[in-house]
Structure formats: structure tokens, C-alpha cells
């Protein structure tokens, strides 16, 4: 840990990593609270794994056709939004088949990504960083992009907070009150998709769900309003990612996995605390 504090002053990549962690916390805390409260973790997971198809396809085009402008991040955004649109439309139209469709999108997205990566010429280390994230390779441009996304998500959430709340809590009632439920639900999924893409850089595809849900779940134990959950979840995510970076740096551990383990331990601690409290009360 002391190595980290020695290097942080000189190494810009470390400073960028910390900034990424902090900025990502905002989108993660806000959208993660929606995901946990509305119970759409599985949808977020489906979107996350479809991101691999976009990343793989974009990388393939870059290497094979020389489309240097087609940054994998663009591919990821397109794939995530497409997945959100498909899953959202299906879940609005036919509730009973929702999980099957999500499962299909999830696996097919992943398979397409693997095929592209497999056929991309040259030795490929990208796959590992896509799957498990690498917060240490974030560039200045990435930081701007994340900040922009944060701004968008926070602005939309503040503007439509009451409608999102009603749609998430009681869809039918919101519809009766004249809220265009479909539009808000799809907008929520689109924001979830963008957040997922952002988090892929931080913790990777496999662990996106954990970072979306664990901080919000921890926050959920201490609050009684969705807006408070968002704020506390943002703080929790910031703490988890920052401590993940700090702890993993010295022993050269993967920072994404370290972050998730810390978040998981915190969640278990909160659960245990809660259990002890109710146990103490009942005995």
C-alpha cells in the first residue's frame, strides 16, 4: 500500500485510475440503485455480456480493415444499446418469456464476441482486459467520456426522477397517471447499457453486475428512499473502487477482482450486522 502512495504523485496512469474510479461511482451508484430497486440485475448482466460482441467486432474491424476510428468503445456502446432495446422491447411485450430472451441475448452476445476476437489476426491480450477490466490503462479521453456520461445520467435522473420512481415502483399505476411507461423503461435500460459499458473498463464484463448491485444493496440497508440510496451507493462504489486500486497495486493483483472482493466483503458484513440486529431483537 505504501508503494501506491509513493507512486501516486508521479504516475499519471495511477491518477487516471483513481479519477476513473471516482467518476464511474456516480453513474454506478445512480443506475445501480435503479437496477437493484427494480430488480433488473439479470437484464444488466445480459447487456454486459453482449458488450463483448461490440468490443470484438470493433477490434476486428480495426485490425482487419484498418478502421482505426472504430474504437472498441464505440462497438461496445452500439452492442449495449442494441441489447437494451431488444431486451426492453421483449420484456414490455411478453413478460412471461423475458428470462429466456435475456439468457439468449446474454450467451449469443458473448459467443459473437469470442468469434470476432478469435478471428482477429495477431496475438490478442484484449480479451482478458475486456473480461476482467483494466482500470490502469484508462486515457485522458476516456476520462472525458466518463464525465460526460455521468453528466447525462445525473441530469436525466434529476429531471425525470419522480416518473422513474413511479415506473419502477408500480408500472400499472404510473400508466394510469398518464406516464408513458414504455418510453421511461427503455430510457432507463439505455442508461443502464451506457453505465455497463463504462464499468467494463473498470472491472470488466464478468464483474459488472457485482459493481452495479453490491454498493446499491449495501446502501439499501441504511436508507428508505431511492434518491438517498443513489447517493449512498455512489459513496460506497467510490470507496470500493478506490480501495480496490490501492490494495491491489502493491502485490500486483488485478484491480477489478480486488474491488469486487472488497465490495462483497462489505455486503456480507452489512448482512451479518443486520442479521445480528434482528436476532438480538427477537431473542
Amino acid at each position: 500500500m505504501s508503494e501506491f502512495f509513493a507512486d501516486i504523485k508521479t504516475q499519471t496512469f495511477l491518477q487516471f485510475a483513481l479519477a476513473t474510479g471516482l467518476l464511474a461511482s456516480v453513474a454506478c451508484g445512480v443506475i445501480g440503485s435503479f437496477v437493484v430497486a427494480r430488480r433488473i440485475t439479470y437484464i444488466a448482466g445480459g447487456i454486459a455480456h453482449t458488450v463483448l460482441a461490440g468490443l470484438g467486432a470493433a477490434r476486428y474491424c480495426q485490425v482487419t480493415y484498418g478502421w482505426q476510428w472504430f474504437h472498441p468503445l464505440y462497438g461496445a456502446v452500439i452492442a449495449a444499446l442494441l441489447a437494451a432495446a431488444v431486451i426492453g422491447t421483449v420484456s414490455l411485450a411478453a413478460h412471461q418469456r423475458e428470462d429466456t430472451i435475456i439468457g439468449a441475448v446474454w450467451a449469443v452476445g458473448m459467443a459473437v464476441g469470442i468469434l470476432f476476437i478469435f478471428k482477429t489476426p495477431g496475438y490478442n491480450v484484449d480479451l482478458m482486459s475486456y473480461l476482467f477490466g483494466n482500470i490502469l490503462i484508462v486515457s485522458r479521453d476516456d476520462l472525458w467520456l466518463i464525465a460526460l456520461l455521468d453528466g447525462f445520467i445525473v441530469a436525466v435522473t434529476i429531471l425525470f426522477y419522480n416518473r422513474f420512481l413511479a415506473v419502477c415502483f408500480d408500472e400499472e399505476f404510473a400508466r394510469i397517471r398518464g406516464v408513458p411507461v414504455e418510453r421511461y423503461y427503455l430510457l432507463l435500460l439505455a442508461m443502464t447499457a451506457l453505465t455497463v459499458v463504462l464499468l467494463v473498463t473498470v472491472v470488466g464484463i464478468v464483474m459488472v453486475i457485482a459493481l452495479l448491485t453490491l454498493p446499491a444493496a449495501v446502501a439499501g440497508h441504511f436508507v428508505k428512499r431511492l434518491s438517498h440510496m443513489m447517493i449512498l451507493a455512489t459513496v460506497c462504489t467510490a470507496l470500493f473502487t478506490l480501495s480496490g486500486i490501492v490494495v491491489s497495486y502493491g502485490p500486483n493483483l488485478p484491480s477489478g477482482a480486488t474491488t469486487i472482493v472488497i465490495a462483497g466483503v462489505a455486503y456480507l458484513a452489512v448482512m451479518l450486522f443486520e442479521w445480528l440486529r434482528t436476532f438480538g431483537r427477537s431473542s
Binding site: 440503485s33 430497486a37 430488480r39 429531471l159 425525470f160 426522477y161 419522480n162 416518473r163 420512481l165 413511479a166 419502477c168 415502483f169 408500480d170 400499472e172 399505476f173 404510473a174 400508466r175 394510469i176 397517471r177 398518464g178 406516464v179 439499501g220 436508507v223 428508505k224 428512499r225 431511492l226 438517498h228 440510496m229
Partner: protein
Amino acid sequence: MIEEPTGRDGVIPMREEFIATGEAKEKVVEMSDVNFSYNGTPVLRDVTFAVERGDFLSIVGPNAGGKTTLLKLILALLKPSSGSIAVFGESPVMARSRIGYMPQTASLDLQFPVTVNDVVLMGRLGGTGSWGIFGGEDRRAAEEALRRVEMQDFRNRAFSDLSGGQRQRVLIARALVSGPELLLLDEPTSNIDVAVETEFFELLKELNSRMTIVLVTHDLGFVSKYVGRVACVNQKVFIHPTSSISGEMINELYGADVKMVRHDGNLMTRMCNV
């Protein structure tokens, strides 16, 4: 659980507005020849009935008999396979803003992080401001609605911390907060114990002086005591005045789990297996 119906000669006293006939009242809900099927299975058949302004109508019937479906048709949450529905003389979608709706509490996620006040304010959506940001008027209306159901002291409590009966009161406040002319309640008595039941129906009776009420219930003791008319729903819908049920009959019928009501004539017909 079920109290003896009171009234002279064991007959439940009639409510005047349902005896008076011939007077043309505004039709609040009008269904004619409505059919509804779900995945090819008929749920409602040839439903024709009307709810008039000031009515207090209870919908009873067996589970999956179509009670909630009937409410959802009125709310335009479902579309009939055939037939026509008019609410306040217009299409049900257009009339939504004049309706207050309380769903079954079982349909809600009780872990959801919202306060009582948050829930009630949802009833103000679609009213003011196109962005759905609440102003002082909305807050005052929410306060007033909570006072109506005597839940004002719970304003800042988490919805998940409430008891079943308290949650139902909050959902009624949410239905009332928009100032509706028609109140639709789905199983409002399912979590209410006998002690507060009377109080609860005093509230509904008071509300009924200003708005039309339609409620779905399985609690027949309540139906016979407070409600003006009963709609028995089991694919088909039959409307009866509750005024002619005798106490003896109810006792007898509860044993058999069957409700008997008087049809238009003198004939007693077994209509609903509840």
C-alpha cells in the same frame, strides 16, 4: 370473523339511493357486450352493466373469475376482445385522470426504497407540470390525503416498514390524492382486521358521498353491511341489490361457502361460488 348482520327482522336495511328508481343518473361506467379472453381462454363473457354516479358497487366472485380483469378493463390497462366500454361517456384511456385506483398490495415490491409520502405523491403524476416535478400544491394534496386515511404521522416512514393494513391506507391515499370522481379498489379489506374494518368502511361511506366507488372483495360480511350493489363475476356478470339478503340466509350460505342474492324478481338464485 364475520359479524351477524344487524337490522330489524334479520333483514339488512336498504340504502335509500338504491331503492329510488326511475331517476336517470349519469353513467360513470358503461360496458356493453364486453368479452375478454386471455391467451384464448375466455375470462369475461357478454358483460353488460352500468355503474351510476354515486354508486357503491362491490365485485365478488371466485378466484380467477375475472374480478380484477373487470377493473383493469375500466382502467384501459386491458383491451376487451369485443364490445364497448365507456367511462364518464368517453374512452377509458381519456377518463383515467378522473379515476383513483388502488391495486392489490400483493402486486407491489415491498422491499422497494420509498417513503409513504413518495408513494402518495405518485398519485399526483400527470396532473401538474409536464416534467413530473412536484410543487407545493402536490405536497399539500398528499398531506390532506394522508390525513383522510389517518396516516399523516407515517409520512416519512419507509413503505416497507408498515403493516399490511397501513400499506392499504397509504395506497388509498395515493388513489385519493388526485381528487378522483371514481374510486376503484382491488381487495382493500384483505389485510384489515375486524377491529379497524368498521372504521375503514365509515371512511369509504364518507367518500361515497362525493365519489362513485367500485371495489373488489372476497369479504362478504362487509358486502352485506356496507355496499349498495353487488356484481357477481364468474365469466359473466350479474348485478344485485344487497338489500334483500336476510341474516339467516347469509349464515346458511357462509357454511356452504356460497352467496345467494335476489335477482330482479322474487326468485332466489345461486349465482356466485365465492
